[in-house]
Symmetry: C2
């Protein structure tokens, strides 16, 4: 018997799974909530207040995940550590940190600990927007526009170089003290193997690297800021390893933390969304994987490197070897519904849910299921957290119309679900129009299990069938699969992720097929969505940006006043 372990580092916790390498069967799982979670108000243990749009993490929380979850799954499964052939990890991205040359995070050092810039910048740290804007403008005006085109035309404030640049601008001493700047994904692999490695997935999707051209030239970084000219050579690495590569073996130290054997194969780091694709059975083109949780990542493999407006990125070998991997996304999906239930559901509904012993989401789903498409007269734009694809604009905000005095909470709830489905359809159609065919959807993440209505609406709105992978801890399975590939076939693992996927990943019998009658109504509503999407999103009426700018100016005045 051969086993592999996958660790999925999420926004609030790390989750481990141990699986049977021969068939992907899950033997045990464990979760560790990060003690410091998302740090967005005060630096831990201090009264140092963070500015708006900041989001940090504590790298020690990641080590704790190894220390608690790996022993837990070994114990629960009863697997002998000698039978664990490999381990893989996946991480949120771009989540990055500055370290010393030996990998010590600057925030571990008393000297830097009180400076927020020494901590991990979480993917959803949005305070580097000015740097992102400048980077995009300079790239476009200095002949590097083609690089941007690989990323839907814009680099996001969430990505690597805006974050690095923000450190340089706001804390040049931290920038100077940082021997290394790297993805937390690569950092945790370093902690297991004692060796710094860099993976092709985060480099490609988040740090403007491509297999064919490498990083942008030093002249580009110089154009941004002369101090950044040699950022790659000084603080990063040009040695980028493909997914599934063996990064190294478990060190003595890591063996003590985890109970694994010294030398156990560790795969190079991967990203949560990307690692999920082969775990969702997809290693070929035309089958889009949606990782549906607080937000949606749309992942699709192509046959050729196409430029698709508004996607998050295309990276050769970014998902599976030899093919371009495309990524797009919606910023706010589960988050929409969570916001709604926390802020907009009346007490009578809460009482009814309690009386019947069901969750408020279940109650709303039940009530919303009784409605037919178009029956509420409502239409929303799904931009409560901006628009990632295809507009790539964080300054857009939510919109809903059609309300009357008879509008019910479940109608608003359903309209929010529908809005996110229209957003997905727009992404699917944008790919299709740019030579990246899509004929079916495979949905994973937290939402598909909990919300049948949502899944049916997505099928009806897109007109595509939706399949669901068997694995529930999809990132963990994908990471374990990469661990099995890193171990190699001689150790009882696999030669490639395609082989691993064929053996270890499966779909459920359950699927969602589009209902033609509903589709016909949704076609009309989608037409309306697109009109408003373009009106508010493509510059015809920039009211959302003006209101946001006004709000920001008022908040600044208020801060000065009180």
């Amino acid at each position: 018997m051969r086993y592999a372990i996958g660790i999925d580092f999420g926004t609030l916790s790390g989750r481990a799974v141990i699986v049977d390498v021969s068939n992907g069967k899950e033997l045990a799982t464990a979760v560790h909530e990060y003690q410091n979670g998302v740090i967005d108000e005060f630096l831990p243990g201090t009264n140092i207040r963070l500015e708006p749009d900041w989001a940090l993490q504590d790298p020690n929380d990641y080590i704790e995940v190894f220390k608690t979850t790996i022993p837990a799954v070994l114990k629960e499964s009863g697997v002998d550590p000698t039978q664990v052939i490999g381990i893989g990890i996946d991480f949120t991205a771009c989540t990055m940190l500055p370290t010393k040359a030996d990998g010590t995070p600057l925030c571990f050092l008393p000297e830097w600990r009180d400076n927020p810039h020494s901590w991990v910048k979480l993917w959803k740290h949005h305070a580097a927007q000015p740097e992102a804007n400048q980077l995009n403008a300079i790239a476009r005006n200095s002949g590097y526009g083609k690089i941007l085109d690989r990323y839907g035309g814009k680099i996001s404030s969430e990505w690597f170089f805006p974050k690095v640049w923000q450190i340089l601008n706001e804390a040049p001493d931290i920038y100077k003290a940082a021997d290394r700047m790297l993805e937390a994904a690569d950092w945790v692999v370093w902690q297991l193997t004692g060796k710094e490695t860099r993976n092709s997935c985060t480099a490609g999707y988040k740090a403007m690297w491509s297999k064919a051209e490498g990083f942008p030239p030093t002249a580009f970084f110089k154009a941004l800021d002369p101090r950044l000219e040699n950022v790659v050579d000084e603080k990063m690495s040009r040695d980028i390893l493909p997914l599934g590569t063996r990064a190294g073996g478990i060190t003595e130290q890591a063996a003590q933390w985890t109970g694994l054997k010294v030398g156990t194969a560790v795969a190079v780091a991967n990203v949560d969304a990307h690692v999920s694709v082969p775990a969702a059975t997809v290693t070929e083109s035309e089958r889009m994987v949606m990782i549906m949780g607080t937000s949606i990542c749309h992942m699709v493999i192509g046959e050729s490197e196409e430029i698709v407006p508004g996607m998050c990125g295309v990276v050769m070998d970014g998902i599976v070897p030899g093919k371009p991997g495309f990524e797009a996304g919606q910023s706010c999906v589960g988050d929409h519904f969570q916001w709604f239930t926390e802020n907009c559901v009346p007490e009578s509904y809460e009482n009814e849910a309690r009386r019947r012993g069901i969750s408020i989401h279940q109650l709303l789903e039940e009530k919303a299921s009784a409605q037919r498409p178009g029956e509420s007269g409502l239409l929303a734009l799904d931009w409560w957290n901006g628009n990632r694809s295809v507009l790539v604009d964080v300054d857009l905000t939510g919109m809903m119309l059609g309300m009357t005095l008879l509008t019910k909470p479940e109608e608003i709830y359903r309209a929010l679900i529908e809005a996110t489905a229209y957003g997905t359809r727009l992404i699917v159609e944008t790919f299709q129009k740019h030579n990246v065919p899509i004929r079916e959807l495979v949905a994973t993440g937290g939402l598909p299990d909990r919300n049948k209505l949502l899944m049916q609406i997505y099928a009806d709105v897109t007109g595509l069938p939706i399949y669901i992978p068997e694995a529930t801890l999809i990132g963990g399975l994908g990471s374990a699969m990469h661990g099995a590939v890193a171990a190699g076939s001689k150790a009882g693992g696999y030669v490639s992720i395609v082989d691993a996927s064929a053996r270890m990943a499966r779909l459920r019998k359950l699927s969602y097929q589009p209902n033609a009658e509903n589709k016909a109504i949704y076609d009309k509503l989608y037409t309306e969505y697109v009109i408003l999407h373009d009106y508010f999103g493509r510059g015809e009426n920039d009211i959302m940006k003006r209101l946001k700018a006004l709000r920001a100016s008022i908040q600044i005045q208020s801060n000065h006043k009180y």
Copy 2:
């Protein structure tokens, strides 16, 4: 000592007040809730279901108001009936009914009682929309457009002739059996005096009558429907009496009901909004009265009969003698906030309000007061119940934008308040642009007393000071004032409503003055409001109508199916 009684017939109840004629001081009030309230599901005591958009009332409920409230205020005040010199009434309008020649409502007769068309059609009965649409089209195409211009360009489905025409179309036997068709306002005066009279206010604002031209010519009615050609002469009256006229004296029968002396002067009927204007101290131009409750009526006296687009009507002598009275309105104001608190306020807020022993409106107002204008980034269109002025379009619906994942209920609540204030500003500016100057606002109705934040927002948004009349039962006071005018100066009353207003009506010391800093921000937000108002309301994007039509078609399908 001389006293007058005013009775204000509202949507759910009738309220009486007895006041001192010398100074308007209120001695006692009484309320009677209509037993059958608003009839919009089943005819009372039957399983006869009403169609959507119907709203009826039972005329017996009005008689009960006389029987209970007048004895109650006489008793509570201790006033001797011989000291009551006059009585006036005001009513919702257009609230109308078919009767026999002696005034007996057709719905009192067993023969007709099971036919919904024999009952009172309440002002908010909206089922005559097809007739209103046809009337407007025919008027515009047959050379009667100038009549429509006096009503902002369109006759509403709420008004007299659409309602009459609906009876004719759907129940021609009722139409035939009706010797008289009249406003409930005139009908209750008939019950007190034994004599049919018709008042200039409802005739002017609701039945297309004008002092200069009378009713539209018979050719107009013939163009609508040959059977309507002689509707005025057959079922109405061309003898239209000015406000404040003595309609007659209390009959034996009415004296038995009320305890008043036989022969006590009764003023001709009036409308709730219009009667409130002199009671709010306004008998001259430039001071707009807002009656603020579930909706807002905007009343302003002019110096000349101007055509203002989108107003509800202009009627010479319609409010005070010798001057044109203008009316405009917003369909949904208090109703907005009520909808919001019933459908959108989370349990945690309800718990906090309960814990602190305050109402949910108070809690929301407190939280919303802590925000500065523009700070939420939200903007709404106040069309949850369509738009009365200036677009005159019941098919428009609500819209809100600017929501983020941090948007709080109190921000949505405040945005709804602000939206209604922008709607009022648009009405004010439309009057101002069309030679009806307005330099201050006088606010009455249920809202000003309960919601200081709302009043301040209206002052800040419009840039106008707002004053509040002293009287709380403003309609009742206005009616009592008209009763004192009907009694005449010889009986200790007044020669005119202008005199009565000068003596009997007063403002409070409290007023709301615009804050210049807030006004500057609201100017920006109002500009945004106007852009969206015109985009969604003036045909650039008729999405609201298309969604409503789609909704209607789905509902029809559903009805056929289930």
